[in-house]
């Protein structure tokens, strides 16, 4: 396997925003323990701005680093801006990911979209969120 970038190792060794938000406005859980990674992302929203983001992740170094990075990236962003965060942007912010680990960045994007989707549902607003389907494997929780 290709080696991890120093940025990935930094976020893996000291991940930012680990934890739960008990009164979260949106929670998204994606992934599957069988495939080796599960991400849960919590967000707090005030006036359409994401004020707080936390995560819990079961997964490899890249899964933890992408979770840390995506929670960093969404904080302070509007919902619309957050919806535009792509997996490629997360990977790029980490100085790139080994090819076999790109699915972790997809999972991070999915986790964010899933949390945003949950936010809309809790508000009773029709959700505009399209959750990308990751090629090749199912992400239904068992």
């Amino acid at each position: 396997m290709e080696q991890y970038s120093s940025k990935v190792m930094e976020h893996f060794a000291q991940p930012h925003n680990v934890g739960e938000i008990p009164d979260a406005d949106g929670v998204g859980t994606v992934g599957n323990p069988v495939c080796g990674d599960v991400m849960r992302l919590y967000i707090k929203v005030a006036n359409n701005i994401i004020t707080e983001a936390k995560f819990k992740t079961f997964g490899c170094g890249a899964a933890i680093a992408t979770s840390s990075m995506v929670t960093d990236m969404v904080k302070g962003k509007s919902i619309d801006e957050a919806l535009k965060i792509s997996n490629a942007a997360v990977a790029e912010a980490l100085g790139g990911l080994p090819k076999v680990k790109m699915h972790c960045s997809v999972l991070a994007e999915e986790a964010l979209k899933s949390a945003l989707d949950d936010y809309y549902k809790k508000k009773g607003i029709p959700s505009p969120v399209k959750i990308p389907a990751e090629a090749g494997h199912e992400h239904n929780m068992e």
């Binding site: 060794a13 080796g36 992740t57 076999v100 494997h137």
Partner: protein, 393 residues
């Protein structure tokens, strides 16, 4: 920081005496063993001496040893070569589901070219039942290949019992002894096999030299052609220094195996007990007693293997993980799948393999270091969070 290497199943360091034996063959005694002049003959003699030592390690005759570049090459040669040279007997192969990929992939290639394959499963400890082999053998069976010991979970297979069956039925029997050679006694007469693969870098030899044992009279088709080396079974100028190193490693192992078995199994048992005592929801994989003395394969629930590996590495500890996330297909180890390890826990697997350089202090350092890493990762794990919430509810 303390450095602890617990990945001897991946490779071992070269023993200083092995290196010492190899060194003259790079610059001074650099000849090509195929040449008749003195410098060539000197190299030829060194290769033959290594052949005698390698044969002695496994109770074979020197002329039954064929050097290859790796254990994978020896396994490829055995599977493809034995089938191609003995195809008139039939078109059926019997292998276990937990073979190394360097056996399974050539078997799959032969399956594509028309051979029929029976993949034998194991019990929960990784043991193959010899009765299942007896049942699988048909009139068409040419070859049975069952590994001596599994490289991941360390389970030692009942090779002697299986060879009774293959001999009775007149079927060729190959065993992949790459994981076991140098760590437990490997004797081709006692095992009763027709072919056996071993690899030097698994037991303090250099990378680049391995061997296939072929019982006298067993026919094989070479997979590398175009040279007279290795009696025509394997063309290519010999890697003389590496072969000399393999010979020296074999010589050392021949007398050292009883001491090695005791030394590493005492440390392994200490490590196993230390981890089981300190970590909840931990499972030891493999057979409780029929296991390689230096092998410890453990699965821990709610945490993922690669994360543990990376944190251990930051603390100076080198191990392997059996995690799906590292594999291209995102699949768990085929060995853990076969023994029925729950897929959710299989991803939290570490392979800790010991060696003669490990000390009690090293082991105690790992017992101190791993539990807090597991705890930290569990606190970060949504699966652990769910379990705690469920337990409270």
């Amino acid at each position: 920081m303390r450095k602890v290497y617990l990945d001897h199943a991946a490779t071992t360091p070269v023993h200083p005496k092995v290196l010492e034996a190899m060194l003259p063959y790079f610059i001074v005694k650099f000849g090509n063993p195929s040449n008749l002049h003195d410098i060539g003959r000197e190299a030829k003699n060194a290769v033959e001496e290594a052949r005698t030592k390698t044969a002695a390690l496994i109770g074979a005759k020197p002329e039954e040893i064929f050097f290859t570049s790796s254990g994978a090459e020896a396994n490829n040669l055995a599977i493809k070569g034995l089938l191609q040279a003995n195809g008139q007997k039939g078109n059926h192969i019997v292998v276990s589901q937990i073979e190394h990929f360097s056996v399974l992939y050539p078997v799959k290639a032969m399956e594509k070219s028309g051979y029929k394959v029976t993949y034998i499963d194991t019990d929960k400890t990784g043991l193959v039942n010899p009765d299942n082999i007896a049942r699988a053998i048909t009139k068409e069976t040419v070859l049975v290949s069952i590994m001596h010991a599994n490289n991941e979970i360390g389970t030692i297979e009942p090779i002697e019992q299986i060879s009774k069956i293959t001999r009775e039925k007149g079927v060729l029997f190959h065993t992949d002894a790459v994981a076991s050679t140098g760590w437990i006694p490997v004797d081709v007469q006692a095992l009763g096999v027709d072919a056996l693969s071993l690899s030097g870098h698994q037991f303090y030899g250099p990378k680049g030299a391995a061997a296939l044992y072929l019982r006298k009279g067993v026919r094989i088709k070479p997979q590398i052609e175009g040279g007279i080396q290795e009696e025509g079974r394997r063309a290519g100028t010999e890697d003389v220094p590496a072969i000399v190193g393999l010979g020296k490693a074999a010589e050392l192992a021949t007398v050292d195996i009883p001491r090695r078995m005791t030394y590493v199994s005492v440390l392994r048992d200490r490590l196993q007990k230390g981890l089981v005592d300190k970590i909840e929801n931990i499972v030891i994989n493999g057979h409780p007693t029929r296991r390689l003395p230096h092998n410890l394969n453990v699965s821990m629930r709610y945490v993922e293997g690669e994360s543990m590996l990376l944190f251990l590495n930051m603390q100076g500890i080198a191990v392997s993980s059996g995690s799906a996330c590292t594999s291209r297909a995102l699949k768990s180890s085929h060995v853990l799948v076969c023994i029925g390890t729950d897929a959710a826990i299989a991803n939290g697997t570490l392979l800790l393999s010991l060696g003669m350089g490990n000390t009690r202090e090293d082991i105690d350092y790992v017992i101190e270091t791993l539990p807090p890493i597991v705890q930290r990762l569990r606190e970060m794990s949504p699966l652990y969070e769910d379990m705690i919430k469920k337990a409270k509810a």
